[in-house]
């Protein structure tokens, strides 16, 4: 019970970020202390076991503590105090700025906390649909999804930066600029195959060149696109002139 309340508080409330400052602090023992502070009301029994680890060599091993969850399938539901409530309080979602201050291990753990929370909310949503009752506080789902997306963005940024520094590659997945049958140029992303391309029948059916009879249609498509663009620009210009006539004091809009 306390585990999910801690988890819930950790996911959504900003003031409990202190609990996550474990890896940013320099001393390992300090980090273990801050962990115990946040989860001290969870399980006093387990911490005597951990204390022996604190005196181990600081540089070599690091007491990595994962939340001990005694409850298996109960984590798919809310804490029993919240059953039957109309609204459940929850904090703000994680912003990308906050997530960038966290270490990789913290983000990894946070991902799983968010995932479990999401599973719990989806379970409640499905059950409320079955019982034809309104789900309490459905905005929690959106908050979780946004937090997870932002976490993903931050991790991607870090991976991109690392890859650029180490290899100089801009993209993780290799690809190439190719022309399709319609003459359009696009970024083709490579896939892994078990055969070379010249033995791959399905790949050979996909033509990466433009046949000769398509070239007049390319010109026509270009003309159509240019005509549409000029039409939009002309419309905008006419609108501005009409507005200027109607309201002479108006400042000209910068496009």
């Amino acid at each position: 019970m306390a585990a999910t309340s801690v988890g819930r508080v950790l996911t959504l409330c900003r003031q409990f970020q202190n609990a996550f400052r474990i890896s940013t602090s320099l001393a390992v023992q300090q980090s273990a202390l801050t962990l115990t502070k946040s989860q001290s009301y969870l399980d006093r029994l387990t911490y005597p076991l951990l204390s022996s680890n604190w005196h181990c060599h600081v540089g070599q091993c690091r007491p990595l503590h994962t939340t001990i969850s005694r409850r298996g399938l109960e984590e798919f539901f809310d804490i029993p105090e919240n059953w039957g409530e109309a609204t459940v309080k929850s904090g703000a979602p994680w912003t990308a700025k906050q997530l960038r201050t966290k270490s990789n291990e913290d983000l990894h753990k946070l991902w799983y906390v968010l995932l479990k929370e999401k599973n719990m909310l989806l379970t409640i949503e499905q059950e409320s649909k079955r019982q034809r009752i309104q789900m309490p506080s459905p905005e929690r789902l959106k908050k979780i999804e946004r937090s997870m997306k932002r976490l993903d963005t931050v991790v991607k940024e870090r991976e991109d930066a690392l890859r650029l520094l180490q290899t100089g590659q801009e993209r993780a997945r290799p690809g190439a600029w190719r022309k399709d049958i319609f003459g359009r140029v696009y970024w083709y992303r490579f896939r892994e195959h078990a055969l070379p391309w010249y033995m791959n029948k399905r790949y050979k059916r996909k033509r990466f060149y433009t046949p000769l009879f398509v070239t007049p249609h390319i010109r026509l498509r270009l003309e159509k696109h240019l005509r549409a663009k000029t039409r939009i620009q002309n419309k905008e210009r006419e609108k501005q002139t009409v507005l200027q006539e109607k309201f002479p004091q108006m400042k000209a809009q910068s496009s």
């Binding site: 969850s69 298996g72 399938l73 798919f76 039957g84 991902w111 799983y112 009752i133 896939r191 078990a194």
Partner: protein, 153 residues
């Protein structure tokens, strides 16, 4: 792990694929049909397999899993919207997970209404009393045996 991922090609002898930060979520559902006491029913992502479900529950939820069986539920494409276009209800995969060691799981009743007794002498208590009296007055006469009151004496 983001969406639109392509996993590395697997050929015999390759190392086991590990996924960090799985993007898949499980939904525990109440079974529609009567299930044995040790069976838990989940709705899972279409891309998940039985092994995935087992590892997910064991690693993330610490739940020892006995057997997992899956099926895909096809949902209708027959319904039409106000523009007479066919609207597809998305398909989903259902996993029946049997727990180990004769453990049982019963789907709890989450939406039981709690009886809240408001403080005595407060406004809420008076309001509740008033509402209850009104309801008593609205009830039809029991002696009529269910017959309506809008006719007769």
């Amino acid at each position: 792990m983001a969406r639109r991922l392509i996993y590395p090609l697997y050929q015999i002898g390759n190392p086991q694929l590990r996924i960090f930060r799985p993007p898949f979520s499980l939904t525990l559902v109440r079974p529609g049909k009567e299930q044995p006491q040790d069976t838990v029913q989940f709705r899972i992502s279409m891309e998940m397999t039985k092994c995935d479900v087992r590892n997910y529950l064991e690693k993330i939820y610490n739940v020892p899993v006995g057997a997992v069986r899956t099926r895909i539920q096809y949902c209708t494409n027959k319904k039409r919207n106000h523009l007479n276009q066919k609207v597809k209800r998305p398909d989903y995969k259902v996993a029946y997970v049997q727990l180990v060691q004769q453990q049982t799981f019963e789907f709890p009743d989450i939406f039981t209404e709690k009886d809240v007794k408001s403080a005595e002498g407060s406004v809420e208590e008076m309001q509740e009393k008033f509402m209850e009296d009104e309801k008593q007055r609205q009830k039809p006469d029991l002696r009529r045996g269910g017959v309506t009151e809008w006719f007769g004496l």
